[in-house]
């Protein structure tokens, strides 16, 4: 499978599904992280979509799977993901994936297949509504049973295993975030909230921009895996709930009514969370070049974060080149303000919340 686009948030679903279908672990091949070298070597003009770099990179990933293997692969599974599972599903209008996400698969496919190329017959690109498990079961049963030589009900079982696997992974990551926050709460120390799309975790897309911040002693939480511990959220959103701005802490209708896009919704919710969480003294926003989905969120996200006194830094227009010089100056800037202001930001944000903090309480109980 190509490690691109939606796979950065649905990885465990697909791996769980393949393992349940009986594919041996050693027979599952994933493309490597995105890199300029990968794109140069394997995409060579098979450009999918012009401006969106993450979408463009799909060709490099698929090319690597088609052309860069010692033994040819039997199948290359590159799903066209229509909608995504999301922890705020039910409170938003929809959890659709970006249209470029699907468009990229379609145009990549034509570029590899149109001219009788080497991908024929091996490239499997099922349309799947992962946001709606019942539909996804049917879609995948239809598209995968035959290529994998299994019965439809085996696929349905595998789909369920995939969802289980993904849920477990997401909750494991949230637990880690919760541990980090608890630790910050105990020590009264700051951490950084990263707002981005899942593929910004790919070193070739996010350019490891936040690494330097971590090396200087700041833990990093990513919005996809912000904790959703009920007690913590009730505490953080207590003033909003009391004022009736939202019906529950995962509600974003107060700031983002057009909540159709899954990742966008999660970024917006992440901004709300980071703005309220006292230990997140700084938010780093990552965004790829000319991302049409991110565009309308820039101002509201920044305003929300800044209004709370939290530091906000944007690394926008990321594409193939890693502008090392400019990134170095920016991260140094971030570090300067973090050191200078974290303490006062933390105490200001803390003062806005009810005195009883569940994070320090848990600690008191354990202690």
């Amino acid at each position: 499978m190509p490690k691109a686009l939606s796979l950065w948030s649905t990885h465990r679903f697909w791996l769980g599904l393949l393992l349940e279908l009986g594919v041996k672990p050693r027979n599952i091949v994933l493309s490597s992280d995105t890199s300029e070298a990968q794109f140069r070597k394997y995409a060579k003009g098979r450009v999918a979509v012009e401006t969106c770099y993450p979408a463009k990179c799909l060709s490099g990933h698929v090319g690597q799977l088609l052309l860069g293997q010692r033994r040819p692969l039997d199948l290359i599974l590159c799903p066209m993901v229509y909608s995504l599972p999301s922890f705020i599903a039910g409170r938003v209008q929809d959890t659709l994936s970006c249209s470029r996400d699907m468009g990229a698969v379609e145009s990549m496919k034509s570029s590899f297949l149109d001219e009788g190329g080497s991908g024929n017959g091996r490239l499997l690109t099922p349309l799947v509504s992962l946001g709606e498990p019942a539909i996804a079961e049917r879609q995948l049963a239809e598209s995968l049973a035959e290529p994998f030589g299994v019965r439809r009900r085996d696929v349905v079982r595998a789909v369920r295993a995939g969802y289980r696997e993904l849920r477990e992974f997401d909750s494991e990551m949230r637990d880690r975030s919760m541990e980090i926050l608890s630790c910050c709460a105990r020590q009264g120390s700051p951490c950084i909230g990263v707002l981005g799309r899942p593929y910004h975790m790919d070193p070739g897309i996010g350019h490891r921009i936040v690494d330097t911040l971590q090396r200087q002693g700041y833990p990093l939480l990513w919005n996809q895996y912000f904790p959703k511990d009920e007690a913590l959220l009730r505490w953080l959103f207590a003033p909003d709930l009391k004022a009736g701005f939202v019906s529950d802490p995962l509600d974003i209708s107060d700031v983002w009514p057009a909540s159709f896009s899954s990742n966008t919704n999660e970024i917006v919710w992440g901004a709300k969370f980071a703005a309220r969480c006292p230990w997140i003294s700084c938010v780093v926003r990552l965004s790829s070049y000319e991302c049409g989905m991110d565009q309308p969120t820039h101002t509201p996200v920044q305003r929300m974060v800044e209004a709370s006194g939290t530091l906000f830094f944007k690394f926008g227009d990321l594409d193939a080149t890693k502008p090392s010089g400019s990134i170095a100056i920016r991260t140094e800037t971030v570090l300067h303000y973090l050191a200078e202001r974290s303490e006062s930001i933390l105490s200001q944000k803390r003062a806005r919340l009810p005195p009883q903090c569940p994070l320090t309480q848990i600690q008191a109980e354990v202690g």
Partner: protein, 725 residues
């Protein structure tokens, strides 16, 4: 068969004009091409007169067609029809090379690809074209060849096959130039650099102009660069051959025989015009003679130039006067420093930039006493020594209360000079900006070689745009043009304000802007008018092109302009007008100390960091004078810890108690300390493999102590086993 006795087609390109004359059966009577040196209209007139005189081209009887990037403005004067050049080339290729499926045409300032498909009797053409950026075009190659001092002759003979290749950015001519420079400095032979350049051009064409399609054989390579550069043709052969093999394209013969460079390719656009007409009803616009073209060259052009141009930098004398009144520099000049001046202590701020080094001396109350400026000699230690020698002389070695550094040299010099604080440029500029204008939303610093835009909120820089790789919009570009016109830097503003109208220059790529200037000059615009136009286009380049800022409402309303380029009032006027056009209520101020803002910020921050009664860490003027150093950049200093292989420089400084590095590849005696620069990560500071292990362990340890959930998810998410089984 044509309805006309003779049909002439003229192709007006960016560097040359060509014509082809055919009889009514489509047989070529004559053809020619000549460089027009940007006098396109004159060249066309000359051609037509020759054709009338020598070949009996007759107005009212024969036909005239036009094509090429310059045809648009000339064709109406001749009542001729313009056929889009790509359409024309495609028609010629289809007629003359029915087996060709892919055409690449690389021009001086553009590149095109053409996919021709044939299904039964149906034909389809798909054209892709790129003309906004120099990357991958002829100019791109020539610019670098000029930098390497290669003649066109030598360049045409340079090879590609069999030579080691290096990484050269194919995206922008200016990035590529920087890459080529680095390669040259590290000792890479010129033929390898040029081979790498050909590689970059072909890759750029393949990656941006094929859009997922495979160029199928046979292939035709057109345009000057393809025709003249042997290495470029070899690069095409290499890549197409590899691609065909990889994609299982069956070849009807040897790959090299399937890639052709036709000798008469220059005339394809012109021939294609005639072809296009003959494929239709055979009727072309009747040739009406040269009278109107000649009249236009003599008189009308001047008129049109004025019509097409914009008003100059100002509309009314009152407007200009009010602007000058508001913006003429009102900054108090620094008090003239005296030897042994009465100030008991100085607060010094230094800004070590890439081209200049600046220092300011302030009183502990924040009053600017003196500023010192020196062109950088490329080594910050040398620059620092020079600055401090001047400060010592001018202030009578006044004691230093606090010392702050900023700029790219700050980390290197921090311990060498004994600074109290080394801060990043953005914070230094923001500190200086906020000191004078506390409600600043945006600081726009246009220096000699880079453009910095700092966006502030709550007194902190939340976003920062730096463009140090693209010359578009920087001061050096403006200065460079003025110098070529023989105009001193300080006179640019007066000359630009003298213009009453000006041409419109294209925003964007500096390489193209340069050629646009030459064009405008040939069109008759004066030096003053061109300088005004350059000042006018600068804000667009700064904000839109280099800064990538489109949403000005988000930026805010108070703008501070600083950096040496804003000493030029004409630029300030253009900036003010541009920003106001985006944010009508904007308040725009020029920093009172335009060029010294970074150094002032460093001084102010250092003053704050050194508490009352505390002593500065400054090593003293004498220690600065005694500073000895040597720097080494060689194969031995290259970093080998990862595939990036950064070309580091070792700067060795003599300091009391320096540990030395006896076992280094570049050994260093005790009494010296080594500072490693030009590394891009912490591993680059290491020479000894044992240290790498330690650094890796530290990084691992950091992962445990300060976890990054994103990194963790990246590590765990792609395991090939189920989580809980």
């Amino acid at each position: 068969m044509s309805a006309h006795t003779l049909t002439c087609a003229v192709d007006v390109g960016s560097t040359t004009c060509k014509y082809v004359l055919c009889d009514n059966l489509g047989v070529r009577v004559t053809q020619a091409y000549e460089r027009h040196y940007t006098r396109q209209a004159e060249k066309v007139l000359e051609f037509l007169r020759v054709l009338e005189h020598d070949f009996n081209l007759t107005p009212g009887r024969d036909a005239l067609l036009m094509t090429g990037s310059g045809a648009g403005s000339i064709a109406p004067l001749l009542k001729s029809r313009v056929i889009q050049e790509v359409v024309a080339v495609a028609a010629a290729v289809e007629a003359m090379h029915p087996d060709v499926r892919f055409v690449s045409e690389i021009g001086g300032e553009d590149m095109k690809t053409l996919f021709l498909t044939r299904t039964g009797s149906a034909r389809s053409r798909q054209v892709y074209m790129q003309n906004a950026c120099s990357g991958g075009t002829g100019t791109f190659i020539e610019k670098i060849a000029a930098k390497l001092k290669l003649s066109a002759e030598a360049l045409s003979r340079m090879r590609y096959l069999g030579l080691p290749l290096h990484r050269i950015s194919s995206k922008c001519g200016i990035f590529a130039e920087a890459d080529a420079n680095t390669l040259l400095k590290t000792g890479v032979p010129i033929d390898e650099i040029i081979a790498s350049l050909f590689e970059a051009v072909v890759l750029q064409n393949l990656s941006t102009l094929t859009r997922g399609k495979t160029p199928m054989p046979s292939v035709l390579l057109l345009g000057g660069p393809n025709q003249f550069f042997q290495g470029l043709r070899e690069a095409w052969l290499h890549h197409l051959r590899t691609m065909w093999k990889e994609r299982g394209v069956s070849l009807d013969g040897e790959a090299k025989d399937l890639i052709r460079i036709p000798e008469e390719a220059l005339y394809y656009a012109a021939m294609g015009c005639i072809q296009t007409v003959s494929e239709g009803d055979g009727r072309a616009p009747v040739y009406r003679g040269t009278t109107e073209l000649a009249r236009w060259i003599a008189e009308g052009r001047e008129l049109r130039k004025r019509e097409q141009g914009g008003t100059a930098l100002w509309r009314t004398a009152e407007e200009l006067a009010s602007f000058e009144h508001r913006y003429t520099r009102t900054a108090p000049a620094p008090a003239a420093p005296r030897a042994g001046c009465s100030h008991a202590a100085l607060v010094i701020g230094c800004d070590f930039g890439s081209t200049t080094a600046k220092a300011v001396c302030m009183s502990p109350d924040g009053e600017l006493l003196d500023s010192v400026y020196a062109l950088s000699h490329g080594n910050p230690i040398e620059d620092a020594r020079a600055l401090f020698a001047t400060i010592r002389e001018r202030t009578g070695a006044a004691p230093v209360r606090a010392l702050g550094l900023t700029g790219y040299g700050k980390n290197l010099l921090d311990s060498v000079i004994g600074a109290d604080l080394a801060i990043v440029e953005t914070v230094a500029h923001a500190t200086a900006g906020l000191h004078f204008f506390p409600d600043t939303d945006c600081i726009c610093d246009v220096g000699g070689t880079d453009v910095k835009i700092m966006l502030l909120r709550n007194g902190a820089v939340y976003d920062f745009r730096l463009n140090s790789q693209c010359s578009s919009g920087n001061g050096a570009f403006l200065q460079g043009v003025a110098e070529r016109f023989g105009i001193a830097l300080d006179d640019i503003a007066a000359r630009a304000f003298a213009a009453r109208s000006m041409p419109r220059l294209a925003m964007g790529c500096g390489v193209f802007l340069q050629s646009d200037i030459v064009n405008q000059q040939r069109k008759g615009w004066s030096v003053d008018e061109i300088l005004a136009a350059l000042c006018a286009v600068l804000p667009r380049n700064v904000w839109l092109y280099a800064g990538g800022i489109n949403n000005f409402a988000q930026v805010g309303r108070k703008y501070v302009l600083q950096g040496g380029t804003h000493r030029n009032l004409a630029v300030v006027k253009a900036q003010v007008d541009f920003i106001r056009s985006k944010v009508p209520e904007a308040e725009i101020v020029v920093h009172p100390y335009c060029g010294e803002a970074g150094a002032i910020g460093a001084a102010l921050a250092a003053k704050r960091s050194v508490g009352a009664g505390a002593k500065s860490r400054f090593r003293g003027y004498r220690a600065m004078e005694a500073l000895r150093f040597k720097s080494t950049t060689s194969a031995d200093t290259q970093c080998r810890w990862c595939e990036n292989q950064c070309q580091r420089t070792f700067v060795d400084v003599r300091v009391p108690g320096g540990p030395g590095r006896p076992r280094s590849k570049v050994p260093l005696q005790p009494g010296w300390d080594r500072i490693i620069v030009n590394n891009s990560c912490p591993k680059g500071l290491i020479e000894d493999p044992k240290e790498v292990k330690q650094v890796n362990e530290d990084i691992e340890c950091g992962n445990g102590a300060y976890p990054d959930v994103g990194k963790l998810a990246h590590e765990l998410a792609f395991r090939r086993q189920a989580a809980r089984r």
